[in-house]
Amino acid sequence: MKHSQKKQIAPLTFTREQLQQRDKKLFTEIYQRYSAALYGLLLAIVHDRETAEDLLQDSFIKIWQGLPSYDEKRGTLFTWMLNVTRNTAIDYLRSRRYQEQQKTDELPDYVYDHDNWSIQPNVDHIGLRELLDKLDCEVRRIVELAYFGGYTHTEIAETLGIPLGTVKTRLRAAMLQLRALLRDEL
């Protein structure tokens, strides 16, 4: 594995006071540490730079407003921010998908691009493509649906035609494979 890929996002910890205060110093620290990971995730989900920039801004507004209610006992700041960002992107995709459906209802002949709505992540990034390629096929689908697609357990079960209980155990298998792969890399 190439050395250039030895990356890690070191966790940041703040006091409750700092999180309540929400000054520019806190913003700068959080932004510089996490924005690349969040922006990369948005790009992988929406496939468009301008949209990803808008969504990063929307996500940061939600993060900023939610900071006082963030509970460090329930997970790291990064995981929480990642979920706020993913939800923002998924909400955006769903509302766009809804608008497209409205449009097609009005204009039955209108043909829209189904590929727009595929949940295949944008894998321009070499590191991500290499990593996803190494996963087992079924495990890779789970990662694509759950991580990049924001699909719920039920939706994943329906899409893949597997029982609900299998979704969670496969998600765990996916995480174990990822953990092993990432360990090799680091």
Binding site: Y39, G40, I61, H153
Partner: protein
Amino acid sequence: MTVKDIIESGIVESYVLGLLDATERAQFEVYLDQYPELQQELARVEQTIAQFAATHAVEPPPQLQEKIWNALQQHAPTDQVPASVPSKRLTPRRWVAIVGAAILLESAAIIAGGVVLLKLHTRVEQVEANLASIQRDHHQTVARLNQGLDDLRLLTRALGGKALAVTLKGTKQQPSARATLWWEKSSGELLLVTPILEPLNTQEQYQLWAIVRGKPVDAGVFSPDSLRLVYPMKPVPSAEGFAVTIEPRGGSAVPTLSRMVLVGMLPSPRLTERGTR
């Protein structure tokens, strides 16, 4: 369910990825408080996700940082809304700015209209503030309802089965303290129900002990919460009695007997036999 079962069910991954519904999440967080092993697993899964995120990190354009900071300043910190409540906020400022610019281009005759718009703007801001507070209340109500449903589900299961009720009574430390344990002997499942105990400072927690062949065995820690009725504790396969002590947060290996607040013994089998004779 043992910690191993919980981990192998894949629930930790689903929790980290935000895939659990409110009830599943509440249940998981109860387990999380109970088992340090689960906290370690959570940290491992989070680390994997963070590493995975690093593989597809892309630096945003440099000017974006300042742009976002400016946007944050516009969204004044007074309108805090819990992040988990999806908020569909209006952006009256931009709207008023556009309308305001149009008014300047028109004549002074419309200034009266501008005043109305400004009033409207103020009104929109009030409505927005109300909405934020309603959303906060709604968020809390939903959390309470879910907690109630969880409690009810656990209790129904306990009462429907062959669970044994053990009454715990207060000691000299807290004479008015009371609690009931529902104990399903076949599975060892243990529920602490409606404990009446004095509040503790944040550095301390109550710890439940099972007395097994005369020795105390840890059965988990809990912090009383006026909104909760039921506290799932660690499973205990056999015990002659139970006791609750005050311990430093996270619990102790050995009970601090001088701070025992509740105790309840099961009727000994020999006594019962004599009683039925």
